[in-house]
Symmetry: C2
Subunit: 263 residues, 2 copies
């Protein structure tokens, strides 16, 4: 497989740097072709702004959707954005690797999403009718590709458990898993997580590497998180609310899992 | 009151620009003193990196927590970060205003949080014992201050409803409300939200301004979201899991609300 790792940590000689190097080596040893977008090393421009759209009429106010649509369609996006889009189309699998900062991805990676996910590419795709609401959430440009997060967190695992004070990790990651990866069509694999990073001794580090290696060895076969397809009949259109008979009477992110039974 | 607005949109002549100007005028008319951090206009540096720590030994690998702790304690943070920290200490209320991009705040604002929230300032504060786990989630440097989000979203309100495909807006905003604002001590007011921004005609725009004005008029009195205090007896220490008798048998972000009864 072709694997793209988008990596967001400023220090190569860090836990994240070690995990990144391990991941690259493990995947290559298994015969995969690997490319890495090391956002800090690339000096990735984080903010989405008018400079991203090369042909924009600077006398007009910036309308981001219109500008993105035009730039993508007319091949007048900034070169760094186009290059990342090419990498995504090349990849069979995408890994986003980052430390959890303030319960989400680092700003530099969020800016990669905002700038690379152009209108007409990752959103604003497909027809809107009584049967479908664009190609998203189970459809889209990345359909058939896989994605997975590798995330480190300073807090303890119990702090991120179902009743932990930080919120359950699956819920904290839902905006990324569902909103950023499933939205444009990726099959989203369960994340690989390391907690309590300040107290990671050599023995646990080796255990974590073993566990990560086992996950990477099965990157092509691991079952994805079974999110419901938006246009598969489970949601009302155009309200896009889950039909009343499914996960009846409940709310919360879990209702968007196929087969959710409220347990 | 002293009100700090941290604003993240690249185009002044936009809905967000109009909402920002309205907010500033309304608050000033009511006698408040208002300052605005217009992140795009300031050219705010989004990525947290080694350059933020002026005295760091560049021969050593960057340890972000250690570097942040030292820089904050020794007044060797970068000047832009110190200035934002001073504004926060000056403010009685903080407003974060932004368009919802990929179900979270724009990268430039996330980078404001990451860089301004230094160790020893917004985290890494207070003792860890059998009765408390730092000063956070209801304690912290911003205790006694209020915070509120003003957020625009392109999607429809039903798409963000309790059973909407995007996920319930309260859940999507939990990592910001609870994880970024309540964590260092803010009382977090309910957000002000505008949906379906592409179809905002003049009549609805005026209605939204009226509703926003009413919210701003009561910024000093509105009841905050009643999150449970971490060190108030509701959580086990050090696991920081909600005690078994509270919101018994349940999970999801709502269990962190005082008085949550599962309804």
């Amino acid at each position: 497989m072709n694997v793209l790792i988008v990596y967001a940590h400023p220090e190569p000689e860090s836990l994240n740097g070690a995990l990144r190097d391990f991941t690259v080596d493990r995947l290559r040893s298994a015969g995969h072709t690997v490319r890495v977008s090391d956002l800090y090393a690339m000096g990735w421009k984080a903010p989405l702004d008018a400079a991203d759209f090369l042909e924009r009429d600077a006398r007009e106010p910036l309308n981001i959707i219109a500008a993105s649509k035009h730039a993508f369609a007319s091949h007048t996006q900034s070169a760094d954005v186009e290059e990342e889009q090419r990498k995504l189309m090349w990849a069979d699998a995408l890994i986003l690797q980052f430390p959890l900062w303030w319960f989400s991805m680092p700003a530099i990676l969020k800016g990669w999403v905002e700038r690379v996910y152009a209108y007409g590419f990752a959103y604003g795709v497909g027809e809107h009718s009584s049967r479908r609401w664009g190609e998203r959430y189970g459809q889209g440009v990345f359909k058939g590709k896989r994605a997975m997060l590798i995330v480190t967190a300073g807090g303890w695992e119990t702090h991120y458990s179902a009743r932990g004070v930080n919120g359950r990790i699956e819920d904290l990651l839902f905006p990324i898993h569902h909103g950023i990866l499933f939205y444009p069509g990726f099959d989203v694999l369960p994340p690989f997580l390391i907690y309590h990073t300040s107290q990671l001794n050599e023995a646990r580090f080796q255990d974590e590497l073993s566990a990560l290696g086992a996950r990477l060895d099965r990157i092509g076969e691991t079952d994805p998180i079974p999110y419901r397809a938006q246009n598969g009949g489970d949601y009302e259109i155009p309200s896009l609310e889950l039909k009343a008979g499914l996960s009846a009477g409940r709310h919360g992110f879990d209702i968007h899992l196929a087969g959710d039974d409220g347990s």
